[in-house]
Amino acid sequence: MSRVLYMAGGPGADAEITPERLAASMADLDGRVQALRALGVRGRARVIAGLARWWLDACDAQPGAPDALGAPDAPGAPGELSALGALGAQLRRGCQEAGISMEMLRWGVRETLGTWTEAALVALVERELGGTAALDHDAREPGARTVAMAPRLCLQVLARTVPPAGWQSVALAWLLGSAVLIRPSTHLATLVEAFVLSLAHAAPELAAVTWVACSAADDTAWNRALASHADALVIHGSDDAVAAWQAVARRDALVVAHGHRVSAAFLAAAGMDEAALSETLRGLALDLCAWDQTGCLSPVTLYVEAGGPLGPDQVAQRLVAEALPAIEAELPPGPWGADVLAERTLFVRARMLEASVHASRTAHVLAFADTAPLEGSCLHRVLLVRPVASVDALVETLRQSAPYLQALAVGGPVALRAGLAARLATSGLNRVCAPGQMQRPPLTWSHDGRGCLRPLVRWIDIE
């Protein structure tokens, strides 16, 4: 894969980019960042919210209309195509490459970008940084104060992430007043391109501070050249990818790493009537199907507390028979390549010697008779269901996954959540929610337990 660099609304992709030409394209970075910061937090929030509305409008357009997300290309000369019509073809290609369905992308865009309102974005800054003033400062002003220094250029490495989560990571850097250089993996490159190219239409202020660089994953020299311009790196990927980028980051750069994580779900024995149980099962079905279970918030195992109305086998049966069909119709699985299918088949078959297997149209639910810690999974809609004796036993089981635990969905009394959060915080747990919400984190979610803005900010006390 050759090295490519482009900007939305720029002169076109530079497919012969060199470190020298990269430096030249960044020559006016300070001026661009200054213009972005001149908007202030509220101004940037307004622009980001406007971008989100543009995408949400595209999602909500009538299917088949030329301006609908993913609609077929409209007939006629290219000039007659709306921006969205052209984007649709690109998104279809991007979904194919990313292995997700258009319906999934549309759902994810609604869920994620739907939280990007001006008020919510400003509230996020206030919540994490104590107010907008910390960012909207003029360093030349006299007087003692504490200021928050955002990165000048944030390198966003999107190696492995669900697409809208990657877009949100970029958006949060803009919110802080940072320019962004996005380095997507091959399978995300087209969706990132679609997102960035939309800036030219929906957010030119953000287009002016956004670059995308594509290259082979093992192009260390190029990665080092990219990182040399960034005073902050945000890395979404495997632990190996994180290590590789940490090795090329500038010594003075902030590095925020989102590496390996795993999530689970729990069904308590008591505290739910049949209606609540059905609702919980529908929620778990959504958690399983969202992003085809490939997100760090996707449950790999559902633990069923003993003594409840359903054992693992019955839970599996009801998930398959009652809860999954409607979700599968709404969120069809992405196109899966032979490697995914093979891994999935081998994983399920290997466990059929121990577990009963219940299959829906797109998912497999494996019901075990014994409990076990979280184990690696083939993902792609394969859920393990295991019994657990009690909440205490659940805690002991999940602690074995420390420090990689991410989220836990709890079906049962709401009061359980706080206790589980307290007992599993040191295992990495940073989100406890209701079933159905796992892949719908709020904008304020403290990704990996660190906050989403705080890790990128340097605090300076000027006395």
Binding site: A98, G99, R160, T161, V162, A165, S185, H187, L188, H236, G237, S238, D239, H258, H260, R261, V262, S263, W291, D292, Q293, T294, G295, C296, L297, S298, V300, W336, G337, A338, D339, V340, L341, A342, E343, R344, T345, L346, F347, R349, A350, R351, M352, L353, E354, S356, V357, P373, L374, E375, G376, S377, C378, L379, H380, Q400, S401, Y404, Q406
Partner: protein
């Protein structure tokens, strides 16, 4: 590791008798599977070894092995039931649902009480939980599987009972008793190695005695009898890295056996690079390098036929691809990754085997390797008769591992991280 269900012990003596009968029949089947090789003085070497096994004969034996496993391996029966297959009603035993080789990491898959195991071969891996365990009630089927195809694909020009200098780049089986490969090397040394000659050069601390090995190679280079080198691919690379100035020219018709890849090793070397090193450092002709494909979950081995074909005066015909041929008692198929339905030659899918020599475990296994059966395109380019290959195929080409690279979200298969 989960313990399997215990087989019904109520009529153990009857089952033992049946098992001994079957084991004996299988040993005879394997011993008679190939036509005897003729020495070069009597007839030119044929392009392919001649098989005495017919598809019907294989099916009959497979049916017996499968019936034995259905009677004595409740885990497998339950598995088949969950897949919707009644093992007792299969028209073709090759339709028995294959068990993923990964299952050998999770369960002891045996058609006998594991406490009676005489050997346990494990796959490579960094933790015990990460390694398959293949238990054997007897090593006789495994022993019987080793020599016949090796003789025909690695030593076909040296007569029916060759004796050759052997150098092994691996520890002895006694030093690493859970390695099926090292056991095989020991068996080959015992069967074909020159009596009294040193074959192994690893100390009890499993470090290689490099000076002794180099000395042995140099001494053999000065003789005129061919030498056989046996080793995993990475062992040769390790030797070459340790002794960068090693240059010997082994005698003409010396040949080299290599197997395995570089999974988990510190560096990888391409096949072309490796074979070039064999020639440059050891003087081995490229045509006399034989690749082998097997795994701890199998009892049989597949070989590249290139050496035999070169000695028989035929071009490789593989066009650079590594084509492997099974022995007549081990059927190979390629399965659709989603449905596990058999695919025709030319299509890529998961590699699966029905290995009769897996008498006391599970004969039907599916690996995590992707491959395809190479279609036969010209008369004579496929082994005649039954050689474990579907009709119209001349061998198996591997395309690498299927599993472990697919996850693209931020939740990944993190087996190693979650290991206790």
């Amino acid at each position: 590791m989960h313990a399997p269900d215990s087989p019904d012990r109520s009529d153990d003596r009857s089952h033992d008798h049946l098992w001994r009968e079957l084991a004996l029949a299988l040993r005879g089947f394997m011993a008679d599977a190939y036509e005897p090789e003729q020495s070069s003085s009597q007839a030119p070497l044929s392009r392919w070894p001649a098989s005495r096994v017919t598809r019907a004969g294989f099916t009959d034996m497979a049916r017996r092995v499968l019936a034995h496993q259905a009677a004595r391996n409740p885990s497998y029966v339950r598995y088949a039931g969950r897949v919707g297959v009644d093992l007792g009603r299969l028209a073709d035993p090759l339709d028995a649902p294959p068990v993923p080789t990964d299952a050998f990491k999770r369960l002891r898959l045996t058609a006998f009480d594991p406490a009676e195991a005489v050997a346990c071969f494990r796959s490579s891996g960094t933790t015990l939980a990460d390694r398959s365990q293949h238990l054997f009630r007897t090593l006789e089927p495994y022993r019987a599987s080793i020599a016949p195809p090796f003789l025909r694909y690695v030593l076909p020009d040296l007569g029916p009972s060759p004796s050759i200098h052997v150098i092994v780049l691996a520890p002895a089986a006694a030093q690493v008793p859970d390695s099926s490969l090292y056991f095989m090397f020991d068996e080959l040394c015992g069967r074909f190695g020159r009596a009294g000659a040193r074959t192994h050069f690893f100390g009890d601390d499993l470090t290689l005695d490099v000076p002794a090995l180099c000395g042995a190679l140099e001494a053999l280079a000065g003789q005129d009898q061919p030498v056989l080198l046996l080793g995993p691919s990475f062992s040769y690379v390790h030797l070459f890295d340790r002794v960068p100035d090693l240059r010997v020219t082994l005698p003409p018709r010396s040949r080299l056996f290599e197997t395995g890849g570089f999974k988990g090793k510190s560096r990888e070397v391409s096949r072309a690079e490796l074979h070039a090193l064999f020639t440059e450092r050891l003087g081995i002709e490229p045509a006399l390098i034989v690749g082998e494909y097997s795994m701890s979950e199998l009892s049989s081995q597949l070989y590249e036929p290139g050496l035999r074909q070169a000695l028989a005066g035929h071009a490789d015909g593989a066009g650079g691809a590594r084509v492997y041929v099974p022995p007549p008692w081990c059927a190979v198929r390629v399965l659709d990754p989603a449905s596990l339905a058999p695919l025709p030659p030319g299509q890529t899918g998961l590699v699966a085997f029905f290995d009769l020599a897996n008498l006391d475990s599970v004969a039907a296994v599916v690996t995590g390797d992707m491959g395809q059966l190479v279609p036969s395109q010209a008369p004579g380019d496929a082994p005649p008769g039954w050689h474990g290959l579907p009709e119209g195929s001349r061998g198996l080409v591997l395309h690498g591992r299927a599993a472990g690279q697919s996850a693209k979200g931020c939740s990944l298969a993190i087996d190693m991280l979650l290991q206790p």
